[in-house]
Symmetry: C3
Subunit: 148 residues, 3 copies
């Protein structure tokens, strides 16, 4: 089983570390702008950093789901590569949002593109799997040879 | 490995698409009621839609955990079927909550029932697995033949 | 596949049940302090219980990710054991936060330690896997024999 998921597991731990970094940024912002828990608001910059972290946290399970299904049913290496690009776009999103609400937009669209790509690859991979197991038809080999 | 999880992976991607739809509803509500990020409040209807999406997001990882453990240790097809019913109840919950706080209650109870069913099946499946591997006892065959 | 993940699946379901318990505590606090949805604030005790549940919910996917990667690539039994200790620390965190903002701190640090331990074990397990598959080198046997 390990060889089918090792690269996905690696990207997963990178994603966990990125979330840990975002959480620490929130803790630092809490100290800097003196916003004590359970308050979640108090200074515009803190509010944006808090929302940036919350947004990344909300998307984290969606991202992992699409990453793993795309990796297991489409192509592990390609899914892992898209996953790393998604995580980089999320990092730029966090930085941009910390500066201004406007600054979050471009990296948000880029990260959304990579998420949709992973969802699309998941659907293609699953379609290929079900077509193959029910009708013996394969669509993936021609797709991957054309893509990679 | 793929044949043991293909149906679970399919329901997972359906769940991701449902969450993407909820997120878009929030974005549309932001525009309609002019609630700009990082604000998360401003109009009663927006507040309800925002809370509905947040609640579904909170339950998403719990749902996937129970879906996969029930599917791997109890019965993949039955878990996937319960999963689709859960996702349909969540859709009705989102629609109901968008209309009124009262409107969320009935589909909320229904979705909770399917989640508890998946948790129960997970526990039964794990009990069966550990009883079998330690004492050679099986409880699942009689259960599944009675249920399905 | 089942024998490689059975203990992780068990800890996962314990974690789901713990989250269900936290959610119910929020519902009970909503009734006690008459804070009706979609409101998420209204009484200091309710606010703390609500934040405690939200914090545990945010960490839930990070915890599961680290638990499974550590369990599959380092050592299933040891990862499951650390996972149970994490969940116990989270229970103490929830209780402590419900009493006072100060009361959440100690169990929060303890739960964070177990999460970092799982992340560290994940990285070690993955390092061992990639070193072994690319260079035939193993670092885990000596580590686990020293640890366990």
């Amino acid at each position: 089983m390990r060889e089918q998921v090792a690269q996905l597991a690696f990207v997963t731990i990178v994603a966990v570390l990125e979330q840990a970094y975002f959480s620490m940024e929130v803790i630092w912002a809490r100290r800097k702008y003196t916003v004590s828990p359970p308050n979640t608001s108090g200074h515009p910059t803190f509010d944006r950093i808090f929302r940036a972290q919350l947004n990344c946290t909300e998307y984290f399970p969606l991202f992992l789901s699409a990453l793993w299904v795309a990796g297991i049913f489409f192509h592990q290496g390609f899914a892992a590569f898209c996953g790393l690009l998604y995580l980089f776009a999320r990092y730029k999103y966090f930085q941009g949002y910390a500066e201004s609400a406007q600054g979050r937009l471009r990296p948000m669209y880029i990260s959304a593109s990579f998420l949709w790509l992973l969802i699309g690859l998941s659907l293609l991979g699953l379609l290929d799997y079900f077509l193959h197991s029910h009708y013996g038809v394969r669509i993936k080999p021609s797709l991957t040879s054309w893509m990679l």
